[in-house]
């Protein structure tokens, strides 16, 4: 690793990939990209390329997992073997199991689980290429896929990370900053409800820095939220025009 020699942020405050501290990577969202899934979305966030497909609400399989009083949401976050520099074994790693759990818990607050007893919704997330911040990009795609499946939601869930790199709090860390930076704080957020549904952190931050990072991540979320809404509109506006 020779990145150590390169400064992650130069004297003018410009990051390795040319961004300012509060600047997000370019993000491209597409809804309804798969014909077999009930809902689907594709996200390109920097070099992250992630596909999410949602199925349901449908009968639970196996049946004994169905809950008499609510819907069950299942998420599977999975990385393709070719998504990272060294081939990743396709078997689910402990990291993927944990991420599947926290992603599910970040989406559940957006759903009316109690209105769909005995049913299940499955969300499958495939990371085709990873470049830091895949859990956030996965949440962005998964929320869109669920919305595209027509499952009523209280709000879209959007996610963005902030962190500390070279003593500066920055937003939306990419791979090198994630690995070599001092801290990473991924946040998932529902803007309309002002609710944080995922919060993790690793690295070391003072309480003040932590507060700043959370605020910065929430601001990032609000920006991506607009792109997310636009992506949904793009798909459904087109359908409307064809009907006319």
């Amino acid at each position: 690793m020779n990145e150590k020699q390169d400064k992650l942020i130069d004297k003018k405050g410009i990051r390795l990939d040319g961004r300012k501290a509060d600047e997000l990577r370019p993000i491209k969202l597409q809804v309804g990209v798969l014909s077999n899934a009930d809902g689907s979305a594709y996200v390109e966030h920097g070099k992250n390329k992630i596909l999410a497909g949602a199925f349901g609400p449908r009968e639970m399989h196996p049946k004994h997992l169905a809950q008499p009083d609510r819907m069950v949401l299942r998420c599977r976050y999975h990385m393709a073997p070719f998504s990272v520099p060294e081939r990743k074994s396709p078997a689910p790693s402990r990291r993927e199991v944990e991420l599947s759990k926290v992603i599910r818990e970040s989406l559940e607050p957006a759903l009316f689980l109690e209105l769909y007893p005995r049913t299940g919704v499955d969300v499958f997330i495939e990371v085709l290429q990873a470049d830091g911040g895949t859990r956030c990009a996965s949440i962005i795609a998964a929320a869109l896929a669920i919305a595209d499946a027509g499952v009523p939601m209280k709000d879209l869930v959007v996610a963005c990370a902030a962190g500390k790199v070279e003593d500066t709090i920055v937003v939306d860390l990419f791979d090198a900053e994630d690995k070599l930076g001092e801290a990473d704080v991924p946040v998932a957020y529902m803007p309309n409800l002002n609710a944080i549904t995922l919060l993790q952190m690793d690295g070391i931050l003072s309480p003040d820095e932590f507060e700043k990072a959370v605020n910065m991540a929430v601001d990032g979320c609000k920006k991506i939220y607009e792109v997310q809404k636009e992506a949904l509109k793009t798909k459904y506006m087109v359908v409307k025009e064809v009907e006319e």
Partner: protein
């Protein structure tokens, strides 16, 4: 976790919490009684049993030699594994680790790793080739709530109790000598978990509170009062204000625990 019972219980728990009380007579920021016993397993290099109320967690440390990771050739290796042993709860089943035990292990791991609790550079025997590998095995023996804090505390207590074999290198061969030295430590992280029930924040939720709470958030902090790891869990949310409030409670509680445990 029968939902019929918990819904009745939820009302009762909620009503007590509205009055700033809890069913077991604690205040919202009180921990249950903490007991730590170190060195309970003689055959392990380090061990500790923590009782947090009725929650009981045993951590054993084994130290072996192995290869370092290619990207950190000068650092020893630490791995954390957690077993939710079936005798600890009627809801635990034998079998490969499920997402709960994986999350538990990874949260404990993150707290120790991100606070640089172990001085891993001192665990290097031969750069790029041979290092000490520290296995932290968390054994949950009785589940009465807040496994994260109990496990993190037990893991730290066990690491502080760990003795490494003395060694010397002769002709490129590792020779174990007589005697032991303590595992080199740099920091002593403390982990505090806060549950949210109906918008109220409570420290150290026990099992009945856990079964009705919306969400939890775990903060690991170091002796400088900085935050080193966070994990939110559960199927609900926190507002940004609640997060900041929780972080303040966690820092206060951690300072208090640190004093009490003399860490």
């Amino acid at each position: 976790m029968s939902s019929l019972i918990t819904k009745v219980r939820l009302k009762q728990i909620e009503q007590t919490i509205e009055k700033n009380k809890r069913l077991d007579d604690r205040s919202s920021t009180d921990y249950r009684e903490i007991k730590i016993e170190q060195g309970v397993i003689e055959k392990a290099e380090g061990s500790a049993r923590v009782l947090l109320g009725k929650t009981q967690v045993l951590v054993g440390i084994k130290v072996e030699t192995g290869e370092p990771f290619p990207d950190t050739p000068n650092d020893g290796v630490m791995t954390v594994n957690a077993e939710l042993v079936p005798l600890a709860s009627p809801n635990f089943e034998p079998g490969p680790p499920d997402e709960n035990s994986i999350e538990l292990a990874r949260v404990v791991d993150r707290g120790i790793r991100e606070s640089h609790a172990i001085d891993t550079e001192k665990l290097c025997i031969e750069p790029g080739k041979k290092v000490f590998v520290v296995f932290v095995d968390v054994y949950v023996l009785n589940h009465d709530g807040n496994l994260i804090d109990a496990s993190a505390m037990a893991a730290m207590a066990a690491l502080m109790n760990t003795k490494m074999p003395n060694y010397e290198i002769k002709d490129g061969e590792l020779k174990i000598k007589q005697g032991y030295t303590p595992l080199p430590m740099k920091s002593h992280p403390v982990t505090v978990t806060i549950g949210k029930i109906n918008g109220h924040l409570i420290v150290d939720p026990w099992i009945e509170e856990e079964s009705v709470m919306d969400s939890r958030i775990t903060f690991t902090t170091n002796e400088d009062g900085n935050i080193c790891a966070i994990q939110k869990g559960g199927s609900s949310y926190f507002t940004p204000q609640q997060i900041l409030e929780a972080s303040k409670i966690a820092l206060d509680k951690a300072a208090e625990l640190r004093k009490k445990l003399d860490w």
